[in-house]
């Protein structure tokens, strides 16, 4: 792992801090802060009824209460945790499968490459949310299941970018030199090619996280994500919708704002990272 450190260090330290990047990063950090210190920030248990039904925002209940008297502020704070866990899990899952598959497919080539590319392209061309809905509906609710449903959809994104970059790198002179001195394919992949795809993986990561946030929110809005009492923004949005017509605005406003803040934060960060890496206009 020693060889990768300079690349990562360069990326982190030399990153120019554009205004948009700083704004994005602060939005993300705000949500992370909420998730980490949820136990201190939330005055009530988010899964229990702690007040009167449908109370407007007040000093006791900052964001009001919902139909069954749960404190919306506590639910919003703990909701950050649910969201970030799902986002992290699904990102890791799609990376673990997409990156090595892209490396091997690009390096080995031939029939294996053709098959995996066709499969990945088919999934990639399909509307991501609908595929995620189908998988989530088949798997049933739960944090892990939601993460799997989302991960499947984003594997091709990593696969395609990593494969393309591998194809670029594999014809470089230093790779040829490594082959000539008899390096094993596994060490060529891990020590010569992999370090060169890290920047691509970073770019794909920053550009796809916002999408993952929105997909999680959509799945839970459809009731396909976490089961009922778990605090979750998309779920609360759906639960609050029937009361909208009667003017109970606080039930939907705050969870929705949180979803958008996190998604916008990641989009801003993604903009500035991909601009720095010279990979603008990828995907979105």
């Amino acid at each position: 792992m020693y060889t990768f450190r300079p690349i990562l260090r360069r990326m982190v330290l030399k990153m120019p801090l554009t205004t948009i990047g700083i704004v994005g990063l602060s939005m993300i950090l705000f949500v992370v802060f909420m998730a980490v210190f949820a136990d201190f920030l939330a005055p009530y248990d988010p899964t229990k009824s702690v007040g009167l039904s449908l109370q407007p925002p007040s000093p006791e209940h900052l964001f009001g209460t919902n139909k069954i008297g749960q404190d919306m502020w506590s639910r919003t704070v703990y909701g950050a945790r649910t969201m970030l866990i799902v986002v992290a899990l699904s990102t890791i899952l799609s990376m673990i499968i997409g990156v090595p598959l892209g490396l091997i497919s690009g390096y080995v080539g031939g029939l294996l490459d053709r098959i995996s590319t066709t499969i990945m392209d088919s999934i990639y061309a399909f509307p991501s949310l609908i595929l995620a809905i189908a998988i989530a509906a088949a798997l049933g609710p739960g944090i892990i299941n939601t993460a799997i449903s989302i991960a499947v959809v984003y594997i091709p994104t990593y696969f395609r970018m990593v494969r393309a970059q591998t194809l670029n790198v594999k014809n470089q002179l230093y790779v040829e030199a490594a082959v000539a001195i008899g390096a094993k394919p596994s060490s060529i992949l891990s020590r010569y090619i992999f370090p060169n795809v890290i920047s691509v993986v970073t770019a794909v990561f920053t550009l796809s996280v916002a999408d993952i946030v929105l997909t999680e929110a959509a799945l839970s809005f459809f009731g396909l994500s976490v089961p009922a009492p778990t605090p979750d923004w998309g779920f609360d949005l759906r639960a609050g919708q029937p009361y909208l017509v009667s003017g109970y605005w606080w039930l939907v406003t705050f969870p929705g704002l949180m979803i958008i803040m996190l998604a916008v934060g990641f989009t801003f960060l993604g903009e500035s990272v991909s601009e720095y890496l010279g990979l603008r206009e990828v995907g979105i």
């Binding site: 499969i119 088919s122 959509a218 919708q241 406003t253 958008i260 206009e281």
Partner: protein
Amino acid sequence: MTSLKVFIIARAIALIPTILILVTLVFFIMRVLPGDPVIAIVGMKAPMERVVELKKELGLIDENGNEIPLIVQYVNYLMKLVQGDLGRSLIWGKRPVVVEIMEHLPATIELAIAGFLVSLLIGMTLGTIGAGIGGKVNSAVRVYSAVAYALFIPWIGMMLQLVFSVGLKIFPVGGRIGVGLEPPTYTGLYILDSLISGKIDSFISSLKHITLPAVTLGLVISGVFSRVTRVSVEEILKQDFVVAARARGLPEYRIMLHVLKNSFIPILTMMGLQLALLMTGAVLTETTFSWPGMGTFLLERIQYRDYTTVQGTVIFFAIIVSVMNLIVDVCYAYIDPRIRY
């Protein structure tokens, strides 16, 4: 044979593996994953006859009650699919899935077209303004593009509902048309149908109903178009013919028209790429506004555990998106003869 025909045929053949892979994926996701769909549908305490009956309907066992191997089930499903048969719904009169899909498809198409038009209008206007004026305005449009893309459709929809339906009471909260105002069916698109049949009431009602959903969907997708338009117009503005036009003293709006015409190809490309996003957006918009289209239908059937319908609908989505992508590709090949295999 012309090269365009060759291109179309080659592209159509390439569609087959794509659709096959998606069908396979969806089929096995619905069958192999943990959980017994039969038990999920009828419940743990259901009588044995009901379970057996349902298993037959699902094609899990044959007439004599013997289990059909998964691979045979898969082949059977494919054979039926080729004939345009997606099976029958498990609930409410057990109607063919294809018929039910066809009932909901026009609503989605209508919403998608309306949303698309709104997004083009907003996106191209903002993009042109940004690139044309430059400076702070341009940066603002850039930020707009990023923010619009990350807006969560149900939330935007609900905020519009709060302001325009609950507060100002201008537009209805949801639905597709007022009660009893459905126009006779010609195209299935209410706005067109009511115009064709000359029903002004229906026309106004359907227009009122589609406004908020279309604006919601349009806003979110407009970010993509404002971005491409901005970048494309910026590029074209640097070209020599613009300088020449200025030198000849052409008024600025005339120059802008020339620029827009020239910057249209990247915008056109982007339109084709947005089909999948449009579908995803439509599903979310529909559920927010109880718009009776494919998305609402799909989610409703998921709740009823109507597995054949869910599977059929998802596969149908896969097929229409692939076919639409094919059409877009053929259009490009027609416009730009350099695009060939």
